[in-house]
Amino acid sequence: MTESATSAEMLPGLAAAVLAVAGPSIGGVVLSGPSGPGRDAWLQGLLQHLDPARPWIRVPISVTDERLLGGLDLGATLSSGKPVFSSGLLAQADGGLLELRMAERQSPATCAAVAAVLDEGCVRVERDGLTRVEPARFTVAALDEAVEDDAPLDLALRDRLGLTIETAQLGDGPLLSGFDAEDCRVARARMAQVAVADADYDRVCSTSDALGISSPRAALQTIAAARALAALGGAGHVDDTALATATLLVLVLRIPGALEMLGAEPPAEDAPDMPEDAAPEPPSGSPESAPDAQQNDSVADGQRPDTVDDADTASLPSGLLASLAQLAASQRQRVPAGRAGARARARHRGRPIGNRAGLPVDGNRLDVPATLKAAAPLQRLRQRRATAPVAVRADDLRVRVFQQKRSTTTLFVVDASGSAAIQRLAETKGAVELLLAECYVRRDQVALIAFRNEHAELLLPPTRSLVRAKRALSSLPGGGATPLAHGLAMARDVSDACSERGEQPLIVVMTDARANVDLDGVRGGPDAFEQALAIARDIATRGHTVLSIDTGRRPGQRAQQLADALQARYLPLPFADAHTVCAAVRGAAA
């Protein structure tokens, strides 16, 4: 296996060919990164690998269940006088491609519906008085534009999509794979006959394990990709090259930054025997990922010390694998935001509580079944005079009524610096957990920002998951300087994002307000406190409920000033324990 894996610049093209061949058994592709010519060119390239006749269905961000799954077709129902079902986007995509736009912002319900169809190959519809099971075997292209703090693509859906392409790494030239639509068609027919050796399963699983990818789906997708590559090459069985390339495509590219790294560091020539200690240094990498990697070195080392050495992995240079594993470990530490927390609710959504008589204007949505049902019993009467198969009068029209429950997001902004005593942190953790236990009963959410030394950190993005919260809280460190302005600035951003999603933010600031780091990160900067006050005033203009808890040993003037700037309720709690804080927040929320 001298030409080991394929060179990095070929990978995007091969990904398109593999997807065209093995589509439904790989699930699809996540195109992560901002929109741009590179992404468009890749999608165009994919199109050229597919049969031109295949459907290409785009799912917009605000898609309703009715459009997605299907439902009663009003026009046809009215003209034929019997219920007519109209297929949704999922069924229309059968045999083709389903493009999910702004995939990271799609609602969990939409993502779960797509995931269910990927599993079953059909759409099950129980809507508007109709029951249907329609075939839907398609390939998903999820356009994931999430940046830094955004909630990432729904994890359940992510797990089902085998390929990943980082669009920032794509050029806008034509996509080259060396195969065309005809090659792909032939390979598709041949793919089922491609044999996979028993040992290959072991190798794929070992590699997956070494990279810290535990879902068995990823291994299955790798096998499918290897079959597709072998079929494209006209081979009857999966060989080392096919397996290595499939591993790169499915497993390695899943690690953010991997494509760039592979491009920078072409795989070594005589890879398999390369001793471990000759491994290339982990790349200096992108500026953001470097500190992460550093910070988590110990974790990465401690977690899986020997796996990379021992595993008979899928034909990848072991040195390359080791550095990738390190990169993967550093990425894993970035706790993704909870999808439950990102449940966006537009105004016309929420809990449907029925329908009422009314005209479908001003954004009211016509409730078709209800309208027809209202009209139905009167048909016999009306038929005598009317000529239309179904006579619907304005009186019959029904519109949907939704109850929009504004959920509250309690945002803790916690001073984790040395001046706030370490024991405060323990109390704060306790308070957050107590509140969370309550919030979860009320289906509200909790988020946590901690600030210390030079920056603030969103330790817990808005969530109602106890599992996630516990994980975040256990990693809350203390000590160092007090960058109050950073903490408040982040609180402003997070609460703005909450408002945008239609949630009601409740901000709880816990600090002694002894700011000593300014926005430039200079310790002892003279403007540190003034800057904090300026941001506090800015937050006050939003009109959110804010609770400012003075955690100093004695109630201090600065904390009082901060509370005034925030127009917050001020609470000096020198001896606060978890239960007192919890009770105070409960009072503020009421």
Partner: protein
Amino acid sequence: MAARKPFPFTAIVGQDDMKRAILIAAVDLSVGGVLVFGDRGTGKSTAVRALASLLPKMAVVEDCPYNGSPDDTRCQCAVCRSHRRKPRTVRQVPVPVIDLPLGATEDRVVGALDLERALGHGEKAFEPGLLARANRGFLYIDEVNLLEDHLVDLLLDVAASGENLVEREGLSVRHPARFVLVGSGNPEEGELRPQLLDRFGLSVDVRTPTELSMRVEVVKRRDAYEQDAVAFNRRWSRKDGAVRRQIAKAREQLGDVSVPDDVLEAAARLCMHLGTDGLRGELTLVRAARAHAALQGRDVVSMSHLADIAPICLRHRLRRNPLDDTDAGVRVQRAVTEVLEA
């Protein structure tokens, strides 16, 4: 579209707790449902879908829309009523395992006015929904934590009363709706409401197998199934058949399995020790232990039967302590050791 044959139950690698819980629910429907929560790709929905083929057939009155039993005189549907005094046609049918798909509307869940008859003939007639179809069988909800609140309320109400009461569009219908609720989901998507959690008799936490060899086996079997589902099912049909007979036999014997007093007492002590609310925990423990013993062909429930099933019966009934990170299953296990070995 004819759905592909589901993945065989016995071909699922490991996940013993999950398999045990599903078997127990299949033997004694009164245990009250199974909740399967856990990692992605662990075969949660695979196991549930495999359940249908393991269940022995049941007798229903032909044409009864609610799967009415010939021995049940309470069914109020037109068919059962008119046949009450006459001999009825009885058919053996598979036990229903009904999917409640995401995005289902309320009218399809509870049943509503029959659109076709209303539109075509101007008649008011009731079209039964998913709850009617699930009567005497299983109702499966994948991604149960994404279920809309109003549907959750509705299910809770029906599950508690065993009866579906429809009052809408001028229809007034009441029909039996006794079903075993089976839910699956991922805890990262959010937690379940405590009221719904409480409706599940058994709760299982599934994890990705940590052993590489097991993971390899998972991947191999799944790949073989994807390549040729029919051949794969044929290969496992003998083992699946054995489980089917095991369930049928256990169901027959269930009534003869006795629960000694010391086991009953231990179950009560266990619940007290863990501070579970209400009697439901104890009741579930005893019923599940009995079904577990029946599955093993025993006619007396032993302490080890109780210990085997305690975690899946009680783990979701513990009072939540947000400051205690210990996995609930571990806490139950600890209590089992302390109580049963004391």
